[in-house]
Amino acid sequence: MSDLLTVTDLSAGYGHSTVLRGISLLVGETEAVGLLGPNGHGKTTLLRCVSNLHRAASGTISYAGRDTRGDSPRALVRRGLVHIPQGSRLFPHLTVEEALRLSAAASGHAANWREGLEHVFSVFPRLKERRGQLTGTLSGGERQMASLGMGLMARPTLLILDEPTLGLSPKVKHELSECIMRIRAEVASIILVDGDMDLVLALTDRYHVVLHGDIVHSGASDASVGREEMMSLFLGGSADERH
């Protein structure tokens, strides 16, 4: 399997604080990769660097065989790299349908946006009911659905999901997880960051644990992953110190 995304030795930060310390990551062409780890350790910064919202201090990122340095986020979206950001307020004064249409147009799929819309409505029937409503008035779960729907409108090859279930009630979370499962089946590759470890392990092929700006532990997302092991990692131990 060839790699769709290759991140090599990436360092990045904000001002004088360093967040990423030489992190490397591979995502295969039909692979779902999960990132786990406590908040504030660089997962979101890594994703922001991948979609070129944030400029890395050093290291390289290549997507579909090309170095992405100097590409605008727009250029990457048009090549199928779609990033759904964490906790977005969306566009409070746009309706759901306007937001979805906007995503299709901005990613170069204006011509057949209606087909995309029907598809998104089939994945998220709730959005169809809310199509005329301003996104600023949606509930948390509906807002996440709209955010995911906007991602789908851009017809992603690599879909980056940053905390899609953050702050949702268990019931809504469950509903959304099922939608993400459906999306998983139709998008080639996924990077998923979520606080819900079980969701990440259920949806991905491999996972990495990110701590202090680097990957400290990796594995296959199967049933053998021990929760207690993982929690001790989260709580400060490094992979080597465990035994």
Partner: protein, 291 residues
């Protein structure tokens, strides 16, 4: 009775001029998060360019004026290229752009003085239409202003509401980061916004250059009034700007009528200070739109 209709005419003319200025400033503010100090100088430059096309190049009135406005739209491209895009993405980029627009004001004003000299010029009256209402008379350019300003800004509102580029502009002003992740290029939106805003300022320049005179400093007053309009209507909402422009026009017309020309600006700014103390989010806004 004639007092009231004189005030009304004056309100519609002044309000229209301020509207043309403030609509562009609002558009720039809501997308770039920058107050364009150069807006008054751009109004002035538009007036001079149109005057030159009319008096020096000898073009017919309408062609000269439309040509002047279109030429200013081109100036908008240069303005964005030189003053906005080199600075806006840097840390504190909005501050740098504001200072750059302040510098542009001085350059444009001194440039105008060098190019066109100190003697005052005027664009002839636009049209000979004349409407009399309750003893007050609106004619020529005043009448054009009363009609044209709301029509142009209404058109702008329609473009923002109904077209693809309008949707893009609104998305960028509501959530810049997510808009970029969708594939919206801020650069294109900035270019569009600056061109439209400068075009509207140039229209105001032509109208003002015909109602009053053309001079290098002619844009200063309208810029200050437009600033008050933004404070009044809440920067960033076109609806608030429209209401604010006519409210300030009315305030200025009433105070000029009852207290005289020299007291009017004082009272207008006093009103602004009171508004900013009492309702910093703008008098006409029900809630603050988060950034």
């Amino acid at each position: 009775m004639s007092g009231i209709s004189a005030i009304l005419t004056s309100t519609l003319v002044l309000g229209g001029l301020y509207l043309l200025m403030a609509a562009g400033l609002t558009l720039i503010w809501s997308t770039l998060r920058v107050f364009n100090f150069g807006h008054g100088a751009l109004l002035m430059f538009g007036a001079y360019l149109s005057w030159t096309l009319l008096e020096r190049a000898g073009l017919p009135l309408l062609i000269a004026l439309v040509g002047g406005v279109l030429a200013m739209a081109l100036v908008g491209v240069v303005y964005e290229l030189l003053l906005v895009s080199p600075f806006i993405r840097r840390p504190n980029g909005d501050m740098l752009v504001m200072v750059a627009t302040l510098a542009a004001t001085m350059l444009l004003q001194s440039g105008a003085l060098l190019l066109w000299g100190p003697e005052i010029k005027q664009i002839p009256r636009l049209g000979s239409a004349r409407v009399e209402l309750g003893g007050a008379v609106a004619e020529g350019t005043q009448l054009v202003t009363i009609v044209l300003a709301p029509v142009l800004v209404g058109l702008l509102a329609l473009v923002l509401k109904r077209t693809g580029i309008g949707l893009t502009v609104r998305a960028l002003e509501q959530n810049r980061e997510h808009a970029q992740l969708l594939g919206i290029s801020p650069r294109r939106v900035y270019l569009f916004v600056v061109i439209v805003a400068i075009g509207l300022a140039a229209v105001a320049g032509v109208l003002l250059g015909s109602i009053r005179f053309i001079s290098p400093g002619m844009g200063d007053d309208p810029l200050l009034r437009a600033f008050v309009v933004l404070a009044f209507g809440g920067a960033g909402s076109l609806g608030g700007t429209i209401a604010g422009a006519y409210a300030i026009g009315l305030l200025e017309a009433v105070t000029t009528y009852y207290f005289g020309l020299s007291w009017s600006p004082v009272l207008v700014f006093l009103a602004m200070i009171v508004i900013m103390l009492a309702r910093p989010e703008g008098l006409l806004r029900s809630q603050v739109r988060s950034a």
